[in-house]
Amino acid sequence: MRWGMVINLAKCTRCHGCIAACRIEHFLPLRMTWPRLIALETDDGFSVDVSTYPVRCNQCKEAPCVEVCPTEASYKREDGIVAIDSNKCFGCRYCVIACPYQNRTYLSRKRNPNYFPEHAKTGFEKKGKQIYPHQVGTTEKCNFCMERIDAGLAKGLKPGIDREATPACVNICQARALTFGDLDDPNSNVSKLIREKNGFVLHDEYGTEPSVYYIDYKLGGAPSNKAPIEAQTGSHIQHLSSVYAPSKEKLAKKNAD
């Protein structure tokens, strides 16, 4: 089992929803951001490319950040997630520099003012201090929402399929640009996407073997516009309360077509 994410560059809209979701999920300090978006806007003389690369910790298989960490605060879990034990980290920031994807951020005092710096802490912040404490003087990064995964697995749920066991950013993305699943399972949603859409990783040449893949393609060009049966019957939304059933009279008016 190795958790991985596939990011669809064709679909990402640069909406920043994933960032907001992560901030909420982990009660991130005001100036701390785990996932980031990188704007790529190029014109090679023939065509223009406007893309947004959502980046977050790649949970590298060969993770330089883990290798350099002198305290073993950064560690790799069985399931491939690279995590930081903030009770062990002593804030040397070696990993911040060594991560070739610049996905680690040191939580300095300046990154940790109140949400409204000239005002008292909001209720959300106060709660956050109890529920998800952050330690100034340590380094942080995306952890693939391992708390959600662990809690979900404990309930017998499937990460990437069941929402409760899936990372917050994946759940929230309106464009459905993020897919989560098991890279070791060749039939998982992520493995299929990587295979079918030629998934690639950032800076393959570093040999870090990231668990975050990207896919990119042109929109449009679909072979058929026929709606699958679930869309036609609305079966996927029939659980919604108070579905309006048209009166017989109106149904009769419905086109026989």
């Binding site: 640069r14 920043h16 960032i19 951001t33 980031r36 978006l37 990188i38 704007a39 790529l40 190029t42 490319d49 947004t52 690369y53 980046v55 330089p64 883990v66 290798e67 350099v68 960490c69 002198p70 305290t71 073993e72 605060a73 062990k88 980290c89 002593f90 804030g91 040397c92 920031r93 070696y94 911040v96 520099i97 060594a98 991560c99 070739p100 994807y101 610049q102 040191y106 939580l107 300095s108 330690q135 100034v136 003087g137 340590t138 380094t139 690639f200 950032l202 800076h203 570093y206």
Partner: protein
């Protein structure tokens, strides 16, 4: 670009499309890292030179005091500076075995372990050296023991001197550092610093270390100058980002540190002083020597500053401009 626009560039969605310099180890509190690294170079350099001089009985006192100074540089300056830099300094013990097995992969952990071992062996060696220098116990047994500890402390001293270089060169994220030349540059520059400093110690002890030190300095400085040129040329061809670092170093905002600090004060001035004395056959005047030593030390500060400051991350987009 003024501060305002610089800040604007850090907006998340513009993040890292362009190559950006690392700031963790050079800005704000990161300045401590710079100082620690300088003391690391000066301390180990001086110590290594001291054991070299300790081989000759006539330099025993100088070697002793130079060794002490070097040891102090590491124990009292470098280590605490490093510790103060830590976000949580009181957790420093977490880097040591048996609390951590990180030394197996982490140059940082290794460095700290080696520094500690060096300090232990160095302390023993310095006690022995003191005994010899001040004729307290000048038996062959003491000499033999001193040799043994010299070798041991020397080995760990070298490791202490090079590990920062390895720690930095390990970072694929910063191509300018990501080269095997870096530890060698750091080691040899440290030794050259040590040679300069030991002349100062010699002036105080009155032992005639200067001619020996001068002749070693001459060679070493020329070697170092070549090494630095090689390092820069190599970086220039290694990758576009490293090339950018080189540009920044020789032509950019830190160019004055490079030309004034590293090249002029760190290499040319001491070299000229030593070369002049070589040709005139006379020892340089004390004033001139002190000047050269100060210049050299400024050079040591400049080198570490320059290298840390122009550490530019390789942007993380594969399709972006070819950085």
């Amino acid at each position: 670009m003024n501060a305002r626009t610089a800040r604007q560039w850090m907006v998340t969605h513009e993040w890292m499309i362009k190559p950006m310099a690392q700031t963790e180890w050079i800005s704000g509190k990161g300045l401590l890292v710079w100082w620690a690294e300088v003391f690391s170079a000066l301390g180990t350099g001086l110590y290594l030179v001291s054991i070299f001089f300790a081989l000759r009985e006539e330099f025993a006192v100088t070697a002793f005091w130079a060794g002490i100074l070097g040891w102090i540089g590491i124990a009292i300056f470098k280590l605490p500076l490093h510790a103060f830099y830590l976000g949580k300094w009181y957790r420093f013990w977490r880097a040591f075995p048996p609390f951590s097995k990180a030394w197996r992969t982490s140059w940082f952990a290794r460095g700290i372990v080696m520094t500690m071992i060096f300090l232990v062996f160095g302390a023993i060696q310095l006690i022995l050296q003191g005994l010899i220098a001040y004729d307290v116990a000048d038996s062959s047994g003491v000499w033999a023991a001193n040799y043994v500890f010299m070798v041991l402390a020397g080995i760990f001293g070298v490791m202490t001197a090079v590990y920062c270089g390895f720690a930095m060169s390990y970072c694929k994220s910063v191509p300018f550092w990501n080269t095997g030349l870096l530890p060698i540059v750091f080691l040899l520059m440290g030794v050259a610093d040590g040679l300069a400093l030991i002349m100062g110690v010699g002036m105080v002890t009155g032992e005639d270390v200067i001619p020996t030190a001068e002749s070693a300095t001459r060679i070493l400085l020329i070697v170092n100058a070549l090494l630095i040129i090689m390092y820069l040329v190599n970086a220039n061809y290694q990758s576009a980002t490293a090339e950018l670092s080189v540009k920044e170093l020789v032509r950019g905002r830190v160019a004055w540190v490079f030309w004034l600090g590293i090249v002029l004060l760190g290499i040319i001035v001491p070299l000229v002083v030593s070369v002049v004395s070589y040709f005139t056959g006379e020892e340089a005047s004390t004033g001139l020597l002190v000047f050269a030593i100060i210049c050299h030390t400024i050079g040591a500060f400049s080198l570490k500053y320059g290298v840390l400051k122009v550490g530019i991350y390789r942007p993380i987009l594969p399709k972006g401009r070819a950085y």
